[in-house]
Symmetry: none
Subunit: 204 residues, 4 copies
C-alpha cells in the first residue's frame, strides 16, 4: 500500500481507458477498479459516483474551454463598443489557435467528450457550444446593427446551420487529426470557408 501517492491517478488512467473503449454508459466501474488494481470501495473514496469520476477527467478542460470562449466574445464586445466601425471580425486565426491549443493540450479529454460521452452529463456538450456561439453571435450582430444603423436581414436557420457546421468541422478535425499543427493548418481553411458561407447564406 501507499504506492508513492498514485491510486487516484491509477484510477483516472484506468477510467480514461475504459471510457475510451466502451463509452460512458457501458464503462464498468468494476473493470476500472480491477484494472487499476484496487477495490471498488477505493474508487468511492476518491469519487462520489460514476458521474463524478467522469467529471474528474473532463470537467476542468470543459470549464476552461467555456472560459476561453467567453473571453473571446468579451473581446469582440469591446471591439464593437469601440469607435472603429470597420474593425475586422473576419480574422479568427487567433481564437482558432488558442482553442486548438487548449483542446490538443487536453486531447484525451477532448476525444472522450466528443465521442464517448453519451449517457453522461456532457452528452450535449457540442450543442451547448453551438448554442453559446449562436446566442453570442446574435447579440453581437444586434449591437452592431444598433450602432451602425444598417440592418442586414439575417436568415436565422442558416445562421444556426453555419455555426453548427463550423463546430462540427472542429469536432471532425479533432477526432481525425491527432497532430496539433496539421489541425491548426486545416482549421484556418475551415474558417475561411465558414466566412464565405456566412456572407452568402446567413446574410441574405
Amino acid at each position: 500500500m501507499t504506492q508513492d501517492k498514485e491510486t487516484r491517478e491509477l484510477l483516472l488512467e484506468s477510467a480514461k481507458a475504459e471510457f475510451m473503449e466502451k463509452g460512458y454508459n457501458k464503462a464498468s466501474l468494476r473493470s476500472i477498479c480491477s484494472n487499476a488494481g484496487v477495490t471498488t470501495g477505493a474508487l468511492y473514496f476518491f469519487f462520489k459516483d460514476k458521474a463524478d469520476l467522469y467529471r474528474a477527467i473532463v470537467g476542468k478542460p470543459v470549464d476552461e474551454l467555456f472560459e476561453i470562449m467567453q473571453a473571446h466574445f468579451d473581446e469582440d464586445d469591446e471591439i464593437i463598443a469601440s469607435a472603429d466601425p470597420d474593425a475586422d471580425f473576419d480574422d479568427h486565426s487567433e481564437i482558432a489557435q488558442v482553442l486548438i491549443h487548449h483542446i490538443y493540450s487536453n486531447y484525451d479529454a477532448a476525444i472522450l467528450l466528443l465521442t464517448k460521452s453519451q449517457g453522461s452529463e456532457y452528452e450535449d456538450i457540442v450543442d451547448r457550444i453551438v448554442d453559446m456561439t449562436e446566442s453570442k453571435s446574435v447579440e453581437a450582430m444586434e449591437k452592431l446593427a444598433a450602432r451602425n444603423g444598417k440592418k442586414k436581414k439575417v436568415n436565422r436557420y442558416m445562421l444556426h446551420l453555419v455555426i453548427h457546421l463550423v463546430v462540427d468541422s472542429f469536432v471532425h478535425l479533432i477526432t481525425h487529426e491527432p497532430d496539433e499543427k496539421k489541425a491548426l493548418a486545416n482549421i484556418k481553411k475551415v474558417f475561411k470557408m465558414t466566412m464565405r458561407n456566412w456572407k452568402d447564406t446567413v446574410l441574405d
Copy 2:
C-alpha cells in the same frame, strides 16, 4: 382481441417508442414487451435478439437509402462514360429531392438512426454514408481525370471534410425540421453552399 397477426406489429410499434425514448442501449426488452402486451417469449419468436429487433425497424430504410445512393452514383458514372465532357455535375436538386423524400417517408426510422442508435450496429451509419460518398466521389473524379487528361489537384482532407459537412447538414436538417417541404427548400441552399466550398477548398 382480434389480433389476427398483429403481434409482430405491436412489438415493432412498442419498440420504436422505447428506442425513441431511451436510445438503443438503455431500451429494455421487458418494457417493450409489456407495453406491447406480450411476454418476452413472444418477442423471441419473431426476433432473434435485440439487434434483430432494431434491424427490423431501421434495416429496410437503410438498405433502400444505400440503394438510392448507389443508383445515383451509377448514373453519374454513365454520364462520365458518355461523350459529353461538359455534363453538369453541379445540379444535385434531383438526388436531393429523392433522398429527402425517402427519408421523410421513413421519418421515425431516420430519427432513430440519427439520434438513438448508439450501441447498435448502426451507430456508425453517418460515417458509412460519408465513406461511401467520399469513395464514390474519388472514383468519379479519377475517371474524369483519366478521360479528360486534366488533373486537378485534390485536397483529400478538405474533400473528406466537405463531404462530412454536407452529410452533417442533412442530419441537422432532418433532426430539426419535421416538415418535408421546408427541409427540401433548405437543403438546396446547403447544396449551393457545398458546391462553392468544393470548388474553393477541395480543388486547390
Copy 3:
C-alpha cells in the same frame, strides 16, 4: 424446473423466515433467494422489489384488519343514529373476538408487522391503528353529545393514552400468547380494564 407451481410460494416462505429472523431492514434478498433455491432474478419476476415482497406477505391481512375496524365503527355509528339513547357501547366482546380471530388466522404476518417491520412502509402500523381508533372515537363522542345534549368534558391526552394502551395491550398479548383461545380470554379482561380507565380518566 416447473416444480408443481411453487416457486412464488417458496420465495414467500423463505422471505417470511428471513424477515422474522433479521427484520425488514437487515433481511437479505440474496439469502431469501438462495434459501428458496432460486436466483435473485426469479424473485424479481414475482415481486417488484423488497417492499413489494414484504407487502405480499403482510398487505392483505393489514387491509382486512382496517376493513374490519371500519365495519365496526360504521356499526357504532348506526347505533348512535338509532333511537335508543342507552345503547350499550361497553360490550366490545364481539369486536374483540373478530379482531383476535382475524389476527390469529394470520399469525405470521401479525408477528412480522408488530415486531419486524422497521424500515418498511408498515413501520407505523400501530400508530395508524391508534390514530384511526382515536379519530373515530372522537367522532362518535361528538355525535353522541350533539344528540343527547349532554356534554361530558373529555381529557384529550388521557383519551389518546388510553387508546394507545388498549392497542398496546393487544400487541403485547399477540406477541406473547400464541394460543388464540387464551388470548381471547385475556383480551376481555383488558377491555374491562379499559372501560373503567375510560370512565375514570378520560371523562373528567
Copy 4:
C-alpha cells in the same frame, strides 16, 4: 480551531444527531465523522465500534436508570422487612418524580433509546425494564405474603400486562411530551389508573 480536547465531544454530538435522524441501523459512521469534521480513524481512536459509540451516548443514563430503580426496590424491601404491616405501597409519587426527572435530564438519550435503538444492544431496553419491575414486584409480593400469612392469588398474566402498560405509558408520555412538568402531572394520573387496574385485575 481551539479544539483542546473536544473531538470526542464533537463526535458524540454528531452521532446523536445521526442516530436520531436515521436510527441505529441506518446511521452511517461516515456521515457522523464527516459532520463532525473528522475522519473515520479518529472515531475509532475514541470508540471501539458502532456499538461502543452508541453506548457512549446512552449507556450512562441507562445504568443510572437501573440504579434508581434498584434503589427504589431496595427501599420497598426495607419497608416490607420493617414492622409496620400497613405501610403504604400505593404512593409512587416519589419514585415517579425521581424517574421522570432523571429521564428528562437525559432527554436526548431517552428518545434515542425509546425510538431509535433497533439493531443495537439496547433494542430490548423496554422489555428489560418491564422484566426487572415484574420480578422485583413478584419478590416483594412473596415476601409480604410470607410475612403476613395472607396469600392473595395473583393473576401472573395480568400482572405482567399491567406492568407492561405502565411502562408503555411512561414511554408514550416521554416520547410525546417534551415538557417535564406536564409529563409529571400526567404520570400521576397514570399511576392512579395503574393502581386501580392492579387491584381489580392482578389480584383476583
